[in-house]
Amino acid sequence: MTEPAGIGHGRLEAHLRAARDAGRKLLVPYITGGITTGWVDLLHAAALAGADAIEVGIPFSDPVMDGPTIQAASLQALERGTTPASILSDLRAGAAELDVPLVVMTYVNVPFRMGARRFAAELVEAGVSGVILPDVPLEELDEWSPAGDAAGLETVMLASPISPDDRLAALCARSRGFVYGVGLLGVTGERSAVGERTALLAKRLKAITDLPVVMGFGVSTPEQAAQIAADADGVVVGSALVREVLDGADPEAVGHFVADLRAGLDAN
């Protein structure tokens, strides 16, 4: 499958490929933007503790792909008065020295309302490398990607355990930065065990793409992270970390949490 013309492979992908090719398993923690006053400090703590990229959530009122933890975090952030502009402003002010790439995750109405071109330009200005829009499947990419591609942003596509083979191939061809494997049927949130679908999807993706394959949804502990990363290039850890923050974790505690995940991945 040929790549669409003019869509570059950017900093996010280069950074993750370099780490992966050096034999490292990738760790991508997720933090809801604006969840606390000093939320940008949490990004620094995560980076220092061994994150390879960080996913920053821009909260949306109706997050249909998110379970109770991210819903609560989104609500907390929105109730604090968080807006896309306040998050990007916080990033401009406090995240310039981060040496790991940032990926914004939000729902499509946020860029749509702001205007995709303005949203893309502001992300770039805030130092963001990639974008994840879980409610934009391949069929609806025109709503976002002309603006995102033109701005040089890497749009990460999500793959599902029930995506047929031809769709997986198309998703991998279109994805930039990495391909995000959703390791289960369902929404984000902690799970007590890793299901069979996770490894199966990771293996299917690894068989057809050279892009970094990062698995997310339900990755809760260092042990689970290590187990999943055995078949993939790395993991996204969202709800388990966000729950710590909701429970009051400070940057130091977030650093410990991420360091434990890092150690779990490195132990393999």
Partner: protein, 401 residues
């Protein structure tokens, strides 16, 4: 581009009505929506399926619903008013048309579990009914604010064998019930059919649900011609939350250029009225939202219309000027509720009272004309709430004795 889609025909290949519609859903739901579209297309062209559905609509739901001429109301306001009596359907509203079709479709697709969202409870009751009839497992999501407002409908659903699960996040009303149903479906899609209750959501729902309600308009057109000596009404009026009853009755009159189509939106949830496009629940349409795209809460006395969006085909009809949408306030609605009750002996659902309120307000513009109102549901469920809302005057200030 807008010209590619004729009103009340199929949306284009991307599920769009003009610039609205689409399929903005997580990757996991894409195969299921493709399967649903193919299954509906196949079933809708299959005489055996249509015969079975028509049989259920006739023998179980009580179709055709009559058209009633409102002589006393007409005399009172100087407008000839006809009512399409969807309130007389089994379960008390138009919602049964859609759910019988979807429940049969679920069975045809081999899915034994159905889920639904509900606002006032009418769609939930209808879904629970169809699931009971076909022996399907049924889970209904309902905002916990609505569960309180419509406690009797909660019990009705449970009586029909359904499980009612509260949606306790956000505004805890219809939009949050949709969110919860979508979250369930993302996890259960291999074995579950999402029986969406309006002409909204991702393609193929807006089109499929409209087709399943088209029977309202097709019946009404012929019934009106019988009453009006072959003529058609000047105006067809329906309330619009998501817009399913309006889509159903409008579709019978879409090709009749001389018949105007009017939608009555609740003032606190007038998505078309505000005219700002947005994307939520799988579709692009008009959407109540703040300057950052956060969806805002609709507020009306009618739980069934408390939806911040609107079906994409209505947004399209407004865009091309084929239909006109006006906002109606709660107070006018209560007046209309009382007026129809005492002049015609028909207690309308608060939702349907929005359509009547628009007629009452427009009586000068409509003087001497003939208006068909879709009486989409009956008001028994709302009597307690209206009694509370009437307050100490108990309706005496609204013409009651």
């Amino acid at each position: 581009m807008d010209g590619d889609v004729t009103p009340f025909a199929e949306p284009d290949d991307s599920g769009r009505f003009g610039r609205f519609g689409g399929r903005f859903v997580p990757e996991t739901l894409i195969p299921a929506l493709a399967e649903l579209e193919a299954a509906f297309r196949d079933a809708w062209a299959d005489k055996a399926f249509r015969d079975e559905l028509d049989g259920l609509l006739r023998d179980y739901a009580g179709r055709p619903s009559p058209v009633t001429e409102c002589e006393r109301l007409s005399e009172l306001i100087g407008v000839r008013v006809l009512l399409k009596r969807e309130d007389l359907n089994h379960t008390g509203s138009h919602k049964i048309n859609n759910v019988l079709g979807q429940a049969l479709l679920a069975r045809r697709m081999g899915k034994q579990r159905v889920i639904a969202e509900t606002g006032a409870g009418q769609h939930g009751v209808a879904t629970a009914t169809a699931a009971a009839l076909l022996g399907q497992e049924c889970v209904v999501y309902m905002g916990d604010v609505d569960m309180e407002r419509q406690a009797l409908n909660v019990f009705r659903m449970r009586l029909l064998g359904a499980e009612v699960r509260p949606a306790s996040t956000g505004s805890r009303t219809l939009k949050d019930a949709v969110n919860e149903a979508m979250r369930d479906w993302v996890a259960s899609v291999e074995t579950t059919h999402y029986c969406l209750g309006s002409v909204m959501g991702p393609h193929p729902y807006p089109w499929m649900v409209r087709e399943l309600h088209r029977v309202i308009g097709d019946e009404a057109r012929e019934q009106c011609r019988a009453i009006l000596g072959g003529a058609d009404p000047d105006v067809v009026v329906a309330c619009v939350g998501g817009g399913s009853n309006a889509a159903g009755i409008f579709s019978g009159f879409g090709s009749i250029a001389g018949t105007e189509l009017w939608g009555a939106e609740p003032a606190g949830g007038a998505a078309v009225g505000h005219g700002v496009p947005g994307i939520v629940h799988g579709m692009k349409s008009f959407l109540l939202q703040d300057e950052w795209g956060q969806v805002t809460e609709a507020e009306s006395i009618s739980a069934g219309l408390d939806y911040p969006g609107v079906g994409p085909e209505h947004a399209f009809l407004a865009d091309i000027g084929r239909a006109r949408y006006e906002a109606v306030g709660d107070d006018e609605v209560l007046d209309a509720f009382a007026t129809l009750s005492r002049t015609e002996g028909i207690i309308p659902a608060l939702e349907s009272a929005h359509a009547l309120a628009l007629v009452l307000r427009s009586r000068e513009e409509l003087a001497g004309k003939t208006v068909l109102v879709n009486l989409s549901g009956r008001g028994d469920k709302d009597v307690q709430q209206v009694s509370d809302l009437f307050g100490p005057d108990a309706g005496r200030d609204r013409g009651l004795r």
